[in-house]
Symmetry: C2
Subunit: 151 residues, 2 copies
DNA sequence: TATTGTTATACTCTATAACTATA
DNA sequence: TATAGTTATAGAGTATAACAATA
């Protein structure tokens, strides 16, 4: 056995990169927004947590601190995020999404959802339901694996 | 209506990047092989088609010719692929996977499958079946969308 | 003139190594 | 001494624009 895992793995390896590329392109298409996927995820995480640190973002994204730092650099330069020394521990940096950041991430989310939904519209309700259940199952196992923490 | 598409889109937008990152990391982990995802996909496509052209790969990956050219540069430098002027149309370049390329892509595929399958092993048979069906449905709609052609 | 591929240039992602400031 | 973050450096992905060779 473990044969079904094997076949399932093959499907994921074929299909996930295709959808990932679609998302990336869609995210980039709306030029006024112009977010990359990690930038989008960083903004969304910072908003969802109501503020975090660089280390928190790094763990969420599964990236090293230097990589994360550069992504945050870009967001801070565009004033989508603020970066302030933590008063409790001066080594830490508190990240907060700005009002503009909130608007941009909401717009990017809406536009990307629209692009995805338009493709999904050719599937019937049963298939959509199945995909949602699959995504929930995958999220659980992959998030359990891909270190995570909110600091 | 269109509400289920919308929720399904949201799930995809959350979960796909996580799995994509896992695949990328897994692909890179086995350093002897050291393939990136587009390199892997290029090799796999070249092998599957029994030979293709640069334009063929570009369409398959959904990338521009210059981007594709650079990816092929890297593969050719490592002698995983050969690049020869087409005898019928001298503008075209025929790509062929080499023996070493075949070995490398097979190893990368096996290792990545192993990594994915080990995570999937915590899911039961019913869930795995559902994921496979979902992936097949998604592949159909996204490949229909993401231009494709084999030259 | 249109097509195929390449080169030039530029930006982002991502990593490792080395460094600064703070605890 | 250990931790949080940054800077330096480097390789790969990706795009647009400009170009060469061929049809």
């Amino acid at each position: 056995m473990a044969q079904k895992e094997e076949r399932c793995a093959r499907e994921l390896l074929e299909v996930v990169p295709i959808i990932a590329r679609f998302i990336r392109t869609e995210m980039r298409r709306h030029r006024a927004l112009g977010l990359t996927v990690p930038q989008f995820r960083t903004l969304a995480f910072t908003e969802r947590t109501g503020g975090t640190t660089l280390g928190g973002v790094a763990e969420h994204l599964g990236l090293t601190p230097p990589s994360t730092c550069k992504i945050v650099d870009g967001l801070a330069a565009r004033e989508l995020i603020t970066r302030l020394q933590s008063p409790r521990d001066h080594r830490k940096v508190n990240l907060q999404i700005t009002a503009v950041g909130k608007r941009v991430v909401a717009d990017a989310r809406r536009e990307t959802h629209k692009g995805l939904a338009s493709i999904l519209s050719s599937l019937d309700q049963r298939e959509l339901e199945r995909i949602m259940q699959s995504m929930r199952a995958l999220r659980m196992v992959f998030i359990g694996e891909t270190v995570h923490a909110n600091t």
